[in-house]
Homo-oligomer: 96 residues x 2
Amino acid sequence: MGNEQLEELRDQLDKVNLQLMEVINERASLVKEIGRVKSAQGLNRFDPVRERKMLDLIAENNKGPFETSTLQHLFKQIFKASLEIQEDDHRKALLV
Amino acid sequence: MGNEQLEELRDQLDKVNLQLMEVINERASLVKEIGRVKSAQGLNRFDPVRERKMLDLIAENNKGPFETSTLQHLFKQIFKASLEIQEDDHRKALLV
């Protein structure tokens, strides 16, 4: 009985993991597009004010169970990975 | 024109950020529940074999744009934060 319950919860977790991956990748596509628009306008890709605003939005809307500080830490990691993907794009553009 | 396009993309990004936060928190609720079930069965909350399987599932289903290694790095951070939230629950349970 207990094992069935655990298996059921793990199946749910696998589905949530895949959903999470999809949203993270959707976010990455959007960030790449923003990088292209900013690059065309000669704007810097790294924008600490905009990052701060995104972190504030998380703080304002968090209903848990994660603490806001934990979510903000995770989002900072996602921002960092997103900047790296924009920089890869930029390097490739320079090589064309 | 360019600024309108940038504003539109940023609005989309804000929505995706909130969606991402919701899925991360939904995942945290599920992980807390798994922690309670495992704790009731006397099982260890940290399970490296199960973590490996979750990372493999990401690798098998990733369609980009993020590299699988980047996604796996982000998921490891999420696993770490999830273990911490389970441990908080466990400490509180011991205090009851």
